[in-house]
């Protein structure tokens, strides 16, 4: 699947993740699944990591609820979430895979291993025959 994100949203994620580093930062993405098969991120939500650690993230459920209602008011679809890996690569960890329970979601991971060269990738994670399978999506910054 192709998925697009605005450069300004990419930069917002990057700047917030830098500010939160060494802790992980997180949030939600919302947008539309277009008829041409492209998933378009129209809005990025910066939410609180209630774990406040460099090794885990949990999105604040109260903020999540408010964000979901805001998406609905804007006629946007919840598309998934994003989080940062301050010191590890932009790919789902075992815990990320275990806790990825929405097979329709896109999971964006921003790596800050090289702070000046952030790497953002999008993944689709689903359970098949008891195992979680990961597929990288084609993320385009527009």
């Amino acid at each position: 699947m192709k998925i697009t994100i605005k450069r300004s949203d990419f930069e917002m994620i990057y700047e917030h993740s830098l500010k939160e580093s060494p802790n992980e930062a997180c949030g939600l993405i919302a947008g539309v699944d277009r008829r041409d098969g492209v998933r378009e991120i129209c809005k990025v939500y910066i939410l609180t990591n209630t774990d406040h650690t460099s090794e885990h993230f949990t999105i604040d459920p109260h903020e999540q609820l408010n964000a979901v209602k805001d998406m609905r008011a804007r006629a946007l679809k919840p598309l998934g979430n994003w989080h940062s890996h301050p010191a590890s690569p932009s790919r789902p960890s075992e815990e990320d895979k275990r806790l990825a329970n929405d097979s329709s979601a896109s999971y964006l991971i921003l790596s800050l291993m090289e702070e000046e060269n952030p790497v953002l990738n999008a993944f689709h994670i689903e359970k098949a025959e008891g195992e979680k399978t990961v597929r990288k999506e084609e993320l385009i910054v527009i």
Binding site: P92, E95, L99
Partner: protein, 69 residues
């Protein structure tokens, strides 16, 4: 009775519990779902006993988390 589920008005059985609604709505991986009713989060331990009322607003939210390892 009528309640609102994820912004959509639906007809459900009178006094349906949160647990029964989760089953009826075919919620994927319910063990990772948080439920709010009228913006209040319901304890997982109360899903079986929490009966819904006419006009309630229900949201199903997936736990969103992960880690480095």
């Amino acid at each position: 009775m009528k309640i609102t589920i994820a912004g959509e008005k639906k007809e459900v059985a009178d006094g349906i519990t949160v647990a029964a609604l989760i089953e009826q709505e075919n919620v994927e991986t319910p063990e990772y779902v948080t439920v709010s009713v009228n913006e209040e989060f319901i304890d997982k331990g109360s899903f079986d006993s929490h009966a819904l009322n006419e006009g309630d607003e229900v949201e199903f939210l997936y736990f969103m988390g992960g880690g480095r390892l």
